[in-house]
C-alpha cells in the first residue's frame, strides 16, 4: 500500500480498529476507509485474525472465592483489631502520650485538610479555566465535510446510518448534508450539549456522534438545534437556561416522545477530556422519571442515569446502557 495513494499508514489503520487513534485521526481514517477498498480489505484481514484468535477460549470450573483467599481476607480484617488488643505496651505508650498524639493529629488534619482543599481547588480551577469561554467557531468546525458525515454515520451500525439523514455543523448552525430514508438523523454534537455547569462546556475538542431514532429526531433533536442557535447568537448561559425553560413551558420544545432513543456507538467520537471515546452505548429519553424506575445506578445494573440534563432546564431524564460492540462491529473494551 503506497502512502502516496493512502493518507494513512497501515499501522494507523490497525490503531484505528483498536480504538487507539485520537479523534481527528480516527475521523480521517474512517473517512478514507469508506472510499478505499484496499484499506477495507486490510481491515477485514485484521478482524479475521482477531476472530480466529477468539477460538481459543479458556474456561475455568471454579466458582466462588477459594478458601485460601477467604482466609487471607479474614486475616487482613482481623489484624488491626489484634494489634489494638495484643499490644499493651503500645497501648500504654499511646495512652500516656495521648496529648502529644492529639496535638500531632490535629496538625496533620489541618495540614491534610489544607492540602486537599488547595489541591482540589487547583484541580477544579485547572479544569474550569481550561475552557472558561467559547473558543473561535473555527475550532468547533470540522473542515472536511465528508469527514463529518462519516463521523456522524459512525454513531450507529451501517444498516441504520446508511439510510439516515445526516446533519453537519457549519457557520450558520446544523444543516442537512444528506437526506435520509428511514427517519433516523445522525449528527456530531459539540461541547455545548454538556450540562451548563460542566467544566468542558466550551471544550472545542468535543465531537459526539449521535444517531437519533425517529421519535428522538422529533423530540430531542430540536433541543440540540435550539442550544446551537443560541450559542451562535452569542447569548449568555443564563439567558439560554431561561429560554429553554420558556421553550418547554410554551411547548415550543417538545417533551421526549415515547420510544425516543439514540445510538452512540462510534469508536471515533470524543465525549470529553475525562471520557475520551468512552464505550459504545445507547441512550433512552423520558419526561422526568425517577431513576429507580429503570434500576439505574444500582449495583451491577448496566443502566446509568446520564447527567446531561440532570439539574438543567430540560425536564428530561436520560438513561445510558453500554453495549458490547462499536458501530463497525468490533468489540468494545470491557468496562
Amino acid at each position: 500500500m503506497s502512502t502516496n495513494r493512502h493518507p494513512i499508514e497501515q499501522e494507523e489503520l490497525m490503531a484505528y480498529l483498536d480504538g487507539e487513534l485520537p479523534t481527528d485521526q480516527a475521523t480521517q481514517t474512517l473517512s478514507h476507509m469508506e472510499l478505499c477498498p484496499e484499506c477495507q480489505t486490510l481491515a477485514a484481514d485484521f478482524r479475521g485474525v482477531s476472530q480466529e484468535l477468539m477460538a481459543w477460549e479458556v474456561e475455568s470450573s471454579e466458582v466462588g472465592i477459594p478458601s485460601m483467599i477467604n482466609a487471607a481476607l479474614g486475616e487482613r480484617h482481623q489484624k488491626p483489631e489484634a494489634a489494638k488488643v495484643n499490644s499493651p505496651r503500645l497501648e500504654n505508650r499511646v495512652l500516656t502520650s495521648r496529648w502529644v498524639w492529639a496535638g500531632a493529629l490535629a496538625i496533620v488534619c489541618v495540614a491534610v485538610g489544607l492540602t486537599l482543599t488547595v489541591t482540589s481547588r487547583n484541580r477544579n480551577e485547572d479544569r474550569s479555566t481550561a475552557y472558561a469561554s467559547m473558543a473561535s467557531i473555527e475550532q468547533y468546525l470540522i473542515q472536511n465535510r465528508n469527514a463529518e458525515i462519516a463521523l456522524a454515520r459512525s454513531a450507529a451500525p451501517e444498516a441504520i446510518s446508511n439510510n439516515a439523514k445526516i446533519l453537519v455543523f457549519g457557520w450558520q448552525g446544523y444543516e442537512t448534508a444528506i437526506e435520509g430514508k428511514n427517519g433516523f438523523v445522525c449528527m456530531v454534537e459539540r461541547s455545548w450539549m454538556s450540562p451548563f455547569n460542566s467544566a468542558e462546556f466550551w471544550n472545542p475538542k468535543v465531537r459526539v456522534p449521535m444517531c437519533f431514532n425517529p421519535a428522538a429526531a422529533r423530540s430531542i433533536l430540536p433541543l440540540t438545534i435550539k442550544r446551537t442557535e443560541m450559542i451562535l447568537a452569542g447569548i449568555s448561559k443564563a439567558q439560554m437556561i431561561d429560554s429553554i425553560k420558556a421553550g418547554f413551558d410554551n411547548k415550543e420544545l417538545p417533551l421526549p416522545e415515547s420510544g425516543a432513543m439514540c445510538y452512540m456507538m462510534s469508536r471515533a467520537g470524543y465525549l470529553n477530556d475525562a471520557l475520551g471515546h468512552f464505550v459504545p452505548h445507547l441512550m433512552f429519553y423520558f419526561p422526568l422519571t425517577d431513576k429507580s424506575s429503570w434500576g439505574a445506578d444500582l449495583r451491577d445494573s448496566p443502566v446509568t442515569l446520564n447527567p446531561q440534563f440532570r439539574d438543567g432546564p430540560e425536564p428530561i431524564t436520560e438513561f445510558v446502557i453500554p453495549v458490547g460492540k462499536w458501530s463497525d462491529g468490533t468489540a468494545a473494551p470491557v468496562m
Binding site: 485474525v49 480466529e52 481459543w56 475455568s60 487471607a72 462491529g329
Partner: protein, 191 residues
C-alpha cells in the same frame, strides 16, 4: 457501575464486598491469562489465586496511579515470569516439566496455539495482551516497559505474521479453517 478503581479504594478502606466484586470481575480474565500462557489448568488456577492474594497483601500500598486492570495484569506478569523461571530450572535439572494438555482440545484451538507459538515471544506477548486481555497500547507499553510506538509496530508485525501463518495452514488443511470460522458466542477483540 462502580469503577474498578473505586472498588479498589473501598477495599483498601476495609470493604470485603468491594474485593468480592473485583474478584468476580477479574477471576475469569486472569485465569484465561495464565491458562493460555501455561497450558496447565491447575497452575493457572493457583496463579490466579496468587494474584488475588498479592492484591490483598499489598492493598494498603495501592495507589490509583494506573488502572486496576493494568495493576492486576502487572502482578500476573510477574507471577508468570517467576513460574517460567521455575519451569526452566526444573527442565535444566532434568525434572519432568508437565506437557501442555491437548486432550479434548478442539482442532481450531490447537491451530491457533500453534500459530501463536511461531511468533517471537515479545511479539506474541503484546498480541495476547491486546487480543485476550484487551489492554490498550499505553497499558501494554507501561507493563512491558517499552515505548508506545514499539507496542504498535510489534503488534502490527505480529498480526501480519499470524495472518500469514493461519493462511498457510488453511491452504494445507482447509477443513480445519472451516471449523475455526464457525461463529462462537462471547467473542471479543477486533471483530
Amino acid at each position: 457501575m462502580t469503577s474498578d478503581e473505586a472498588l479498589m479504594l473501598e477495599f483498601q478502606g476495609g470493604s470485603r464486598a468491594a474485593f468480592e466484586e473485583l474478584f468476580a470481575r477479574y477471576r475469569k480474565p486472569l485465569y484465561g491469562f495464565f491458562g493460555r500462557r501455561l497450558n496447565n489448568p491447575e497452575r493457572a488456577e493457583d496463579l490466579t489465586q496468587e494474584t488475588f492474594l498479592a492484591v490483598i497483601r499489598a492493598a494498603s500500598r495501592y495507589e490509583p496511579r494506573a488502572s486496576v486492570r493494568t495493576y492486576l495484569y502487572g502482578i500476573a506478569l510477574k507471577l508468570l515470569a517467576a513460574e517460567r523461571r521455575k519451569l526452566l530450572i526444573s527442565g535444566a535439572l532434568g525434572r519432568s516439566v508437565p506437557e501442555a494438555k491437548t486432550d479434548g482440545t478442539p482442532e481450531c484451538v490447537l491451530w491457533v496455539r500453534q500459530a501463536l507459538e511461531k511468533l517471537d515471544a515479545p511479539e506474541r506477548e503484546i498480541l495476547m495482551l491486546r487480543e485476550y486481555e484487551q489492554l490498550s497500547y499505553s497499558d501494554i507499553a507501561e507493563l512491558l516497559r517499552i515505548p508506545l510506538n514499539t507496542v504498535r509496530s510489534r503488534l502490527f508485525r505480529s498480526r501480519l505474521a499470524l495472518k500469514s501463518y493461519l493462511e498457510s495452514e488453511a491452504k494445507t488443511n482447509p477443513d480445519l479453517r472451516a471449523s475455526a470460522e464457525q461463529p462462537r458466542p462471547g467473542r471479543r477483540g477486533m471483530q
